[in-house]
Amino acid sequence: MPALGNKHSTLATEWLKDGICILSFLIPEHSQNVITQQFLNELSAALAEIKVGPQPSGLVLMSRRAGSFFAGADLLRLEQLRQASSSEIVRACAAGRNLFGQLSDQPWPTVAVIDGVCLGGGLELALGCDLRIATTAAQTVLGFPEVKLGLLPGWGGTVRSARLIGPGPAVELIASGENIDGLAAERLGLVDACVPPEQALDSAQRLIAMQTVTRGYLQRRRQQAAAIDLDPQEQDFLEATSAAVILGRTGGHYPAPPLILATILKGAAVTAEQAGPIEGHAFATLVRSEIAGQLLRVFRIGERNRRDIGIGTPDGRADDRPHPKAAPAVAHEVVRPAVIGAGIMGAGIAASHLRAGFAVTLIDVEPQALAKSVAEILDEAAWDRATKRTDPARALHLAGALQAATQMAAISNCDLVIESVLERSDVKRQVLASIEETVGARAVIATNTSTNPIGKLADSLSDPSRFCGMHFFNPVRRMTLVEIIYGPATSNATIATAVAHAKRLGKCPIVVRDSPGFLVNRLLMPYLHESVEMLREGLEPKRIDRIARAFGMPMGPLELYDMIGLDTAFYAGVVLNDAYGDRIAASPVIPALVRSGRLGRKSGAGFYHYNSEPGPLGGRRSRSERPDSGVAAIIEPYAMPARPSSDETIANRLFLPIVLEAILVLEEGIVRDGRDIDLAVIHAIGFPAFRGGVLAWANAIGATEVLRRLEPLADLGVRMHPPQRLLELARRDEPFTV
């Protein structure tokens, strides 16, 4: 490539015969293009050079990396910005915004060709151009993910998108953080055309030729510069309805979405020139906020989890091996997975395999249960989220990838078998032994269990090194966490294989050492248990659940009990109580409810009463959920004296026991890193991401303050007594986790 090519390391210039200048970029030191300071500098220089050179007939901006336009700004930059002062941040925003604005301030039209991921700052760059062409390629997605980090676009994204697609659609796009494909972007007006990738450059040239005649791009520049002419009644309605939707979605815990709405509406009323700084100030407010800090950290620990192969440390330190037998482990790539047991969990696991593109074998000894399950699996796997119904053609296609059988022989050539039969150790042991007899010597065998010790189940196998736990959560399609549990004999290769496989299912695997309750249930149970203790002290279920929601949980502990099923929760509680004694007590209330037939949602009643009747408007069904007066009578024999119960005390009683257990889990080496705990509670129990997870929350409070809050609760028993490690952290003023 001639001209500027050798002066810049991220940008190259090429002139076409028709006078069109192509500015193409590639950020070499990253796997995906991200906007670095160097790129910004070089873009600025390149644009300046084009301006003073021979005039092009048009400019095309495109990536030289397949599948990647720009994935966004370099997060490292963001981290640095967090440390900067408000005015420095506002200036940095203005610099980026103005630089992108230079893409549409010259006499010739500019077109961005978007073939691949175009997110955040990448989309803001594309919006700086007069026109955009997206491609139909599967990798092509556009969106503003900033809100997921507690931010908003700071390089003119709110200003330019609101003028291009309208304030309402811009609020939806930016406040939701959802990605859209090229065709959806075209329908929305975010891009001007969506074409096959091989037609993109040609289409860009055609657009430039047409626009040179029609001068349409000049009209658009005027539209981009002006205030938005929005009917006042429409503006009021947009503001009110968006605010209501945002409040419903965020529970008021996330400051970015309402600020996005306010920024777009304020910016709409003035010129783009005036709207820019409004956005800059909003960005500065958000980027410096505590919540953005937590969300950035959660994002980073998610990235860290993606790099984590399950053994050793993804941070490049060699000092925290998971267990002594840290032989170099090579994960083998699973090709033929099988699931044993067609119950709810087995079906969910099989369906997630189909969705991830695997052919999967499903075994159940009951032909009828199997047939019923196959239909449900196909329904779920072929579920189209967009249309909210099963895609029959897809179900038919997937049916070919699901092999259902009643005989174990069908799994003889499988290389990963996930046993998911009844939660009874005698049944499991028998099935595991039979799996081992059937499969080849290299196959990995996993058990999906929440209560059976992996080490004990391993006894039933002649080669326990290839055995581990893979604990999926219900419903499998929604719950992203998978606990990968290793026993004393589990090999590193087995762990690595299970971890890699869980990731290919789109899950977030956390490696856990075998111990009662593993990780999630051990952290969850003290929280659930405490809610029942408070019921015994006479508190209203609705109040307890409301306080948990106000803390940021997606549902309260008693609602969660009902969803899990009280019988299931009871059994898990007994296992933990046996192992940890009074620290995780088993409440007598739960078995009493179970005895009265209250199993939670599945039986129509638990702590609440459920019914599913045709809704008031006819066809649709509504679910009513109301406190059940019968519960009080069942609790009555177990009543305890009332205690002072401010909302704050209730929240402390619910959430501090999780912290205490997490400290012990970490100290006992059940997980390799505190960040795994934070990730697990966010994924598995819905611990609010804006608090960064349970240990990040404890960090924010500080060990000394945690101790102070525990003090008045000490008489409740050992479950509220600080472990030694907490006292040490407080004394040394150390954080709970990095």
Binding site: I165, G166, P167, G168, P169, V171, E172, R187, L188, G189, L230, D231, Q233, E234, D236, F237, L238, A240, T241, S242, A244, V245, G248, P614, G615, P616, L617, G618, G619, S622
Partner: protein
Amino acid sequence: MNRSPATTPVVVACCRTAIGRSHPQHGLFRHVRGDALAAAVIKGVVERSGVDPATIEDVVLGATQQRGELGGNVARTAALLSGLPFGVAGTTINRLCGSSLQALAQACHAIAAGAENVQIVGGVEHMQHLPMDSAIDIHPQVFARSSRGMLSMGMTAEHLAAAHGISRRKQEAYALDSHRKAVQAEYNGLFEDEIVPILGHNAVGAVMEALRDQSIRSDTSPEAMAQLEPVFLPKIGTITAATSAPLSDGAAALVVMSLAEAQRQELVPLVRIVATAVVGVPPAAMGTGPVIAVRKLLARSGHDLADMDCIELNEAFAAQAVYCIEELRLHPERVNVRGGSLAIGHPLGASGARIATTLIHTLCAGTARLGLATMCIGLGQGIAVLFAREDA
């Protein structure tokens, strides 16, 4: 407005089906097709009018969901189904909730213009068989000037209620009154003349003569209404199932022609159509449509609102009806004297013809002279039609 008898549109007959609930288990018409409902009212209105079928020139029907059993120009198929001569043309139109009032209006325009004369107008909707929110794909760039929320009529009504301080209690009192008036009218047999009996199905599936509107409730109370959850804005909203018009199935039809033609066929005109008007308003302000439409109508006809003896204001939501009554300063005792759509039901495309039918029967039953029918329309429109008793 003075027109010659040849260009003065009059209604000589009108009727409707009972209005059923759109409910898959309990709906009166769950086993009856929408086109069959339309054919039933066409047949019924032709018989009642005594019009010579050979003189009918066109069938103009409103329907908002023109697909499935209401697809392929249901006005034509229902005309064929009802046994009208092949020479009768048919067209199906869509002005959403205002569809069949629009059908009436444009048939009258044809008469005034000296074009098609004898016409059957009406509307049909089967909201259970053809749900209002399915198979619709609105261009997202429409929302550039508005917002996606405007597609939810309930949200626009919530906004109207919030912006004008129309409390939940006030809405519920209004809805309760709508039921009370409908119950009273039904008790007094006032709907008997307007309802064409057809076969429907009762709760256990047996056939029954559908003579009564299924959503009118004599057993509702302020206490019962207060128990309901908001439908459109969970927890914080003010609008519930009780203060929204029920999803409904039904049809209604009228026979219109010029006064001269009525005289020629020796038919008794019931009312004359004096004027019509439609308007557009911001989509988010959907519920305000009637206010603007009525003002435009009165300016056009030269009448005063105080002259209106009888007003049918379609009740999409109690909040929206209350807003229109307050904004136009209507006399509440002249509005929806036999109850409104909150009680009777709101089969979208049929509702305009339904309220016109009820209005005409009300006018003819008393000494009232002038009647007004008006409706709010989704995506921001309003329609209003002015009727006058021909003999008064």
